[in-house]
């Protein structure tokens, strides 16, 4: 194909040739992290629990996206549109958390009636 040589490498061509070993490696790491999150999940670590669980989940998700979904080899535009959705998710979360975490007791459903003391 004469025209194929003139073009920059297509996305398919940039999908680096590699064996199946990397898929098995990612799978094994995902299983290890799953065991880790179950193990630490039932410990009583207070506020650290949710932080740890979300960190492990994010690492697992990153591995899936990069290697199972081949984001590491994807074209720039594809990376951009997918990562954009996470950007907008982050913006939405930051906005809502900013509200929630700066609320005072009275605005929560669990609030007790206020005692202003004797009139």
């Amino acid at each position: 194909m004469a025209d194929a040589t003139r073009k920059p490498p297509s996305e398919a061509e940039r999908h680096a040739e590699h064996g199946t070993g990397r898929y098995f490696a990612v799978w094994a790491i995902l299983l290890v992290f799953t065991c880790l999150t179950v193990w630490t999940g039932r410990m009583d670590l207070g506020a650290v629990n949710i932080f740890l669980a979300m960190t492990i989940a994010t690492i697992k998700a990153t591995l899936v996206v990069l290697f199972f979904m081949h984001m590491s080899e994807a074209a720039g535009a594809n990376r951009l549109v997918f990562l954009m959705s996470f950007l907008f998710m982050a913006l939405m979360m930051i906005g809502v958390f900013g509200d929630l975490w700066t609320r005072n007791e009275m605005t929560l459903p669990s609030a007790h009636p206020i005692n202003f003391g004797p009139e």
Binding site: K7, S10, E11, A12, H15, T20, Y23, F24, V26, W27, L30, L31, T34, T37, V38, G41, R42, N49, I50, A53, M54, I56, A57, K60, A61, V64, V65, F67, F68, M69, H70, A74, A75, A77, N78, R79, V81, F82, M84, S85, F86, F88, M89, M92, M93, V96, F97, L100, W101, L108, P109, S110
Partner: protein
């Protein structure tokens, strides 16, 4: 002689694309865009979860402990393994191994069915206990404020996820049909790739749902 006569057109190249590379690029971009909207769909539910978890922290903690961690963990392993087999199926078709690809996709669909059956047992148990959403809640183990909200979110998120499992399975069966007919091979495997991408997304959502529902 026009240029379209000099080169034989790829059998799956649509008329409005010049080359199969351009078509593949457009198709991949469209898929990633769609996956982005899927992330945003679940993001709304995760946000709702976070807000109510903040309001009813103690009850959510208590309610999450009543879920079956063993079944949840098994389902996580089942989904991760099915993600591996889809990735391997993609690798197989790329290298022209049709039979291997079919076998791996069949294994993936068995995993998907296994996931749904296990989820079904979990649901059945919740129905029997009365751990149901909203006004149908009659579960005596967790009675704090917001208890029914936890199970509303549990059923909404896992239900929507299970629906995605069913859609993903259907997509993979459709892909299998194409592989069976010999439509895909080393020079054209984008449908296998995109079907696989959807399946990985299903796994991705579960990776976050699992700790949030079972482990908090």
């Amino acid at each position: 002689m026009s240029s379209s006569d000099t080169h034989a057109r790829h059998p799956y190249l649509a008329e409005h694309y010049e080359t199969i590379e351009k078509q593949d690029h457009a198709v991949r971009l469209g898929m990633w865009l769609f996956l982005g909207t899927e992330v945003l769909l679940f993001a709304g539910l995760f946000l709702g979860y976070t807000v109510y978890r903040h309001f009813y922290h103690e009850t959510f903690h208590e309610a999450s402990r009543t879920l079956n961690l063993t079944l949840g963990t098994i389902n996580t392993i089942v989904l991760i393994t099915s993600s591996l087999s889809v990735a391997l199926a993609y690798h197989a078709i790329k290298h022209g191994q049709r039979q291997k690809c079919l076998g791996l996709l069949t294994f993936t669909i068995i995993c998907a069915l296994g996931f749904l059956v296990i989820k079904g047992f979990e649901y059945q148990h919740k129905f029997a206990e009365g751990a149901l959403p909203g006004q149908f809640y009659r579960f005596h183990e967790v009675t704090g404020p917001g208890a029914n909200l936890f199970f509303t979110i549990y059923f909404l998120t896992t239900g929507l996820h299970a629906f995605h499992v069913i859609v993903g399975m259907s997509v993979l069966i459709w892909v299998m049909k194409g592989v069976w007919k010999g439509k895909y091979g080393p020079d054209y495997y984008v449908p296998v790739e995109l079907g696989g991408l959807y399946w990985h997304l299903v796994d991705l959502v579960w990776i976050f749902l699992f700790p949030l529902l079972y482990l908090i």
